[in-house]
């Protein structure tokens, strides 16, 4: 649904994005991970048509986003620090959005009040930062968007509200096939909601993986042999990382689960354990992998 190809963006001397390419499927949740300053916010602003890229293309089912009203009416962008007009109450803001967004659903807005439970007559700027963020979700969801872009959305929400918002988003994804892009500097936060993860580093897309594939493909294995690790064990195996402690070998391996297990068992290990692997571990390994590959070419 969303096709981004070779998007670059410079801010005077600073290169914010360097030829970023990504694809998001309809009804999926895309997690955009990266350190602070990696270019996540810039990418999201380009994806929502706020910024214009210097080069490259952003297509939604073949259409450009920039200055495209019909498309933008279906997209909601919730920045990390949402803006509200001075002195506006939630109702005022809702009235404004209702006039601007043709898809606004008043019933939904009223219904969502129960979930958020904030007085609609409150001036938004007098609310706490976390509450302002909730208001942004509330108003954003009331537009019934096809696509939702969330910049560090869960930051500053308390755990209860965090779960509530996640649930609301997942619900919309399930019911209405809403497409979501979430950015975060915390990979663990993305782990349980996202289908696909992209990692942005210094303006470049390092890696982009489907989580299910990733989980099925990468395994952390602990093996022990009574008389030393056989030399030929690691041959023909894609080890991303290994650690040896005497006769015990802990390794992260890429490959299908069954085949890997079968291969190791053929060496008759004393112990063979498949350990749980966090998303973070996978990515650290994956990126190490990239790094080594580049090193190999260099040497």
């Amino acid at each position: 649904m969303i096709e981004v190809e070779g998007v670059s963006k410079r801010f005077q001397e600073i290169e914010a994005l360097n030829s970023v390419t990504l694809a998001v499927k309809k009804g999926s949740i895309y997690g955009l991970a990266g350190t602070n300053g990696a270019g996540k916010t810039t990418l999201l602003k380009i994806l929502t048509g706020v910024y214009r890229q210097d080069s490259g293309q952003v297509k939604y089912d073949g259409e450009n986003i920039f200055e495209n009203n019909d498309l933008k009416a279906r997209i909601v962008f919730i920045p990390d620090n949402p803006y509200f007009f001075t002195n506006y109450t939630i109702d005022d803001m809702a009235n404004f959005y209702r006039r601007i967004y043709p898809r606004w659903e008043q019933g939904r807005y009223l219904k969502l009040r129960e979930a958020f439970n904030i007085d609609m007559k409150r001036r938004i700027r007098t609310l706490s930062k976390g509450m302002q963020r909730q208001v942004a979700f509330w108003l954003g969801l009331s537009i019934a968007p096809d696509i939702m872009m969330l910049d560090e959305p869960l930051d500053g929400l308390d755990p209860v509200m965090r779960q509530k918002v996640k649930n609301l988003i997942i619900q919309d994804v399930a019911e209405r096939e809403m497409t979501v892009i979430i950015s975060s500097h915390n990979l663990r936060e993305l782990e349980d909601v996202c289908d696909v993860i992209g990692i942005l580093h210094q303006g470049k897309m390092l890696i982009q993986k489907d989580l299910d594939d990733l989980r099925a493909d990468v395994h952390k294995i602990q093996v022990a042999f009574s008389d030393g690790v056989p030399e030929s064990l690691l041959q023909d195996m894609q080890t991303l990382r290994q650690e040896r402690k005497g006769n015990v070998l802990i390794m992260v391996v890429r490959g299908s689960h069954d085949e890997t297990v079968r291969r190791i068992q053929s060496f008759n290990p004393a112990i063979l354990d498949i350990l749980p692997l966090t998303l973070e571990e996978i990515f650290i390994c994956e990126m190490g992998d990239c790094g080594y590959e580049i090193k190999n070419i260099l040497y």
Partner: protein, 693 residues
């Protein structure tokens, strides 16, 4: 609720109303206080008969004569632009506004529409209220058309100021810079020309500064004061508004939103901004120092100070950092400074030949020469071109005191003016040095000898050459003599030569230093008096005109239409003297030694003490004290004989002090004392003899 047309967005418009209607309300309040309330205030004053009222006073309200009204009219439009487009200068607000499904074009048009409503509606309401008041109170002199004109001009200027503010907002990313730059842009057309002219005249000898200044009143901000305004100006301002509107739209479409917060939002405009501000500030500070210190050296110091401060200031603003002392930045300033030095050098060396340029004498059709260009200010250049024949026969004596413009058309006079100008040009090297270091020559100004001279040559091909100088007249006595003694010069400078004597109601002759006075009302006598004065003026020589001898009396001429003018009965006017003697009023029209003067005391300057101090004593000490001191001076000359007193009266100059070799005190019978002096040339022989003994 989406509007089909994308020209404006209703939601955004309503939102502007909700957020910024207060601007319109405050504007309306301000206007109501400064227009209808003012009418009521003036009206209630008239009711109480506090002032005898000039009905024109109401009209002034609609002529932009009121400071507060002007301030409101100038501030409101730019402020409205700042508020409505403030979202562009705030990153968060800009992101929010542009994530909405509304195109930039639509946002632009919608906010402009909102702004025009905020500005125009209060103006229209104010005009209606004023009209209702004027009609209701029955105020004379103010017509509906006056109010309509006021409204139309206010709308026009509000439109222009507002659009300027909007367009400026598109290429700046800071509201403060937007506000300041808007007004600078509005002032720029005349501001920059004035700065350039002010600086050009430092380097160019003969630069016709005052003439050029008259043609640079082209700023919309300054022009609002110059009511009424011409049709061509209206057209120009409308055109400017449309251009700025299109420019704003073009820039908005191309603006990068992330530029919010930086002074200039387009990379390509940054050098223009940087060097433009540097240049303007350099000229400004330079001409300030030149004006204050009268010296080229100080002007150059001002250039360095102004340009360096502005350059670094702009760099700090653009980089948003104080770390601007980098090689690249300093190199930029170095190149700029080099170009400026080359330009100043080119001006100083007069590479264009401006200082040397004189038209071919044969090409000159007429020439304007006067101390100022001012009489021409209400004419355009083309009108100075017509030839007027000031021959005696063609003279058409008028019923008003109007001297013709000093445009010389007679070939011999043109040649004389040309010769004078040639002489001035040939002295340019010395004169330019004096001009650029005036502080060294300040003493020569004390006597007031250096006076301005302005020339405009009207050439046969229709073009003009203007020059302006400040010269020490005695240096050019030989050239000036033939001009001053010419018929044309005398007609240009003596209103009495152009008046029809039958239009005169009365001549009043007020003798100086006494309260004696003579009135002539008899038509025949008036005719004779005027004829005598006219022939005296025609016979006057250059020396008579330039000598510092005070006249006998002031002559006040009152016309039948109550116009008045004055001239002096100078000591060289022998025909007029004879006329007065014939009428028997001679002794009543002037100071008579025998009747009015007790005695005179003459002292010689010793040349001791600081130069120039004696003249200032007149301001500090009572004349009586000075006289008593003079009488105690050993070797002073006391004169009692009326015949010798008469000689003294005829010869003395009105300059007292140590610039004159002899000082004279006259003690009148009524107790008054007046002072004067004799130059070595003017001093009567008995004075010289007395002091050489």
């Amino acid at each position: 609720m989406k509007l089909k047309t994308s020209f404006i967005n209703q939601g955004v418009l309503l939102n502007d109303f909700k957020s910024f209607s207060w601007v319109g309300a405050v504007y309306l309040l301000g206007l109501l206080l400064s227009v209808p309330l003012k009418i009521i205030m003036l009206y209630s004053n008239a009711e109480g008969a506090i002032l005898s009222q000039d009905p024109e006073i109401y009209l002034r309200i609609f002529s932009y004569d009121d400071f507060w009204q002007l301030m409101i009219l100038i501030i409101a439009p730019v402020l409205t632009a700042l508020l409505l487009f403030g979202y562009l200068q705030n990153g968060k607000a800009a992101d929010m506004a542009h994530a909405l499904p509304v195109k930039r074009e639509t946002l632009y048009h919608t906010h402009i529409l909102a702004g025009l409503i905020f500005l125009f509606v209060p103006l229209i309401i104010t005009a209606l209220a004023a009209w209702a008041l004027v009609a209701g109170l029955g105020i004379p002199k103010v017509s509906g058309q006056d109010i309509a004109t006021w409204l139309a001009i206010s709308l026009l200027f509000n439109l222009l100021y507002f659009i300027t503010g909007v367009a400026t907002g598109m290429f700046t990313g800071l509201s403060s810079v937007q506000g300041v730059l808007s007004y600078i842009l509005l002032l720029l057309p005349s501001g920059l020309s004035m700065l350039l002219l002010h600086n050009m005249r430092i380097y160019t000898y003969g630069f016709a500064f005052d003439s050029y200044m008259q043609s640079v009143n082209i700023s919309p901000l300054a022009e609002m004061f110059n009511y009424p305004i011409h049709k061509i100006e209206i057209a120009a301002y409308l055109l400017a508004s449309i251009t700025l509107y299109l420019l704003g739209l073009y820039l908005y479409r191309r603006r990068q939103l992330e530029a919010a917060g930086s002074a200039i939002t387009f990379d390509a405009l940054r050098p223009f901004f940087k060097y433009g501000v540097t240049f303007c500030f350099m000229l400004f500070v330079g001409s300030y120092f030149y004006q204050a210190q009268d010296s080229l050296g100080w002007a150059c110091f001002g250039y360095l100070l102004g340009s360096l401060t502005a350059y670094l200031g702009v760099e700090i603003l653009l980089q948003k950092s104080l770390h601007v002392f980098k090689l690249k930045i300093i190199k930029g300033f170095g190149i700029y400074a080099l170009i400026v030095i080359i330009c100043i050098g080119a001006l100083q060396l007069d590479l264009t030949g401006y200082e040397r340029r004189l038209p071919e004498l044969a090409e000159v059709e007429s020439v304007y020469m006067d101390n100022v260009f001012y009489p021409l200010s209400h004419l355009n250049m083309a009108q100075t071109h017509h030839t007027v024949n000031y021959e005696y026969n063609d003279m058409n004596p008028g019923a008003h005191f109007e001297t013709p413009l000093p445009i010389y058309t007679r070939a011999e006079n043109i040649a004389d003016v040309y010769a004078l100008h040639q002489k001035i040009v040939s002295n340019r090297t010395v004169e330019k040095a004096v001009m650029q270091n005036r502080y060294r020559y300040r003493n020569s100004f004390v006597t007031g000898a250096r006076i301005p001279l302005c020339f405009i040559y009207n050439l046969k091909n229709g073009s003009h050459i203007c020059r302006q100088y400040k010269v020490n007249l005695p240096d050019y006595a030989r050239q000036l003599k033939s001009i001053y003694e010419s018929r044309e010069y005398k007609i240009f400078h003596n209103a009495i030569l152009s008046i029809n004597p039958s239009e005169i109601k009365m001549l009043e002759i007020n003798a100086i230093k006494t309260n004696k006075s003579v009135r002539i009302v008899d038509q025949k006598l008036i005719q004779q008096a005027v004829a005598a004065l006219q022939s005296d003026i025609m016979k006057q020589t250059y020396e008579d005109m330039t000598v510092n001898r005070p006249g006998w009396a002031g002559i006040n001429i009152v016309l039948k239409n109550n116009d008045t003018t004055g001239l002096e009965w100078e000591k060289s006017y022998v025909n007029f003297e004879q006329f007065l003697k014939n009428t028997g009023e001679y002794t009543n029209a002037r100071l008579i030694a025998h009747n009015d003067i007790l005695y005179a005391v003459i002292t010689k300057q010793t040349g001791e003490g600081k130069k120039g101090t004696e003249a200032y004593r007149l301001y500090e000490e009572e004349p009586l004290q000075l006289l008593l001191k003079a009488e105690k001076t050993p070797g002073h000359l006391k004169i009692i004989d009326p015949e010798i007193l008469e000689i003294c009266l005829r010869q003395y100059t009105d300059i007292y002090g140590d610039s004159q070799p002899y000082n004279v005190f006259f003690l009148l019978k009524n107790g008054d004392i007046f002072t004067g002096g004799f130059t070595e040339a003017d001093a009567p022989t008995f004075v010289k003899e007395h002091f050489t003994r």
